[in-house]
Symmetry: C2
Subunit: 125 residues, 2 copies
C-alpha cells in the first residue's frame, strides 16, 4: 500500500567530487533541486555528502574552505527496492532530510528526500 523508494525518488541527481571548493559546492546545490549533494570518488562510487547545513556551519565558523574539510564521510543511503517507511525511519533516526539512492555498485542513481514524504502525506503523487 505504501510505495517503494523507486516509485518516489528523483532520478535527476547532481554529484560532485571532493576536490571542489565550498563556493562551487554551494553553486551546484543552488542549481540542483536538493539541499543535499552526493560526493563520489574517481570510480563514481558514493563516498560522502555535503549539504546546505555543512555550508552554513562553515559560514558560522568563519572558515570557508574545501569540500573535503566539511563533508560528511559516513553517508546513509538507500536502495530502490526499500519500502518507503524504512527510508523514513533512517531519515528520522539520524535527523537528516535526504538519502542518496545507490545501485549494487554504490553508484548514485537517485535521491530520496523528505520533500517526497511531504508529497505523499499531502495525498499527491
Amino acid at each position: 500500500e505504501f510505495p517503494y523508494v523507486e516509485d518516489v525518488m528523483s532520478r535527476e541527481v547532481v554529484s560532485v567530487t571532493e576536490d571542489i571548493s565550498v563556493a562551487e559546492a554551494a553553486q551546484a546545490i543552488i542549481k540542483s533541486k536538493f539541499d543535499h549533494l552526493p560526493v563520489v570518488n574517481s570510480a563514481g562510487v558514493l563516498c560522502g555528502i555535503i549539504t546546505t547545513w555543512d555550508i552554513s556551519k562553515a559560514v558560522a565558523d568563519g572558515t570557508i574552505s574545501q569540500v573535503s574539510q566539511i563533508m560528511t564521510r559516513n553517508v546513509f543511503s538507500t536502495t530502490p527496492d526499500q519500502p518507503i517507511e524504512l527510508a523514513a525511519r533512517t531519515l528520522d533516526t539520524h535527523s537528516i532530510s535526504a538519502l542518496p539512492v545507490v545501485d549494487q555498485d554504490g553508484r548514485v542513481i537517485g535521491m530520496l528526500s523528505s520533500n517526497h514524504l511531504s508529497r505523499l502525506f499531502a495525498g499527491r503523487r
Copy 2:
C-alpha cells in the same frame, strides 16, 4: 486519524531579528535543531524566514552580507489547529521543508518541519 500540527510541532523555536549578520544567523541555525530560522520584527511578529539554503546562496554568489538582504519576506506559516495533511500540502506546493507555527497575533510558537513527517511515516511518535 492523522494528527494536527499542535500534536507534532516542536515548541522550542529560536527566532532572530533582521539586523543581524549572515554569520550570526548561521550560528543561530547550527545551534538550533532546524534548518529554518524565523525572523520577527520589534513587536515579535513573524516577518520573514532565513534558511541554510539562503545562506548557501549567499556563499554561491560570493556576497556574504546582512540577513535583511537574503531573507525571504513572504513567509508561509501554519497554525496549531491545522490538520497535518494541509501543512504537508503547503510544504509540497512551495518545495519548502518547514513552516513556523503562529498564534492569532502572528507570534511564533512552534515549528513544523518535514522531519516531523519522516517520524510519522516511520511509524513513530
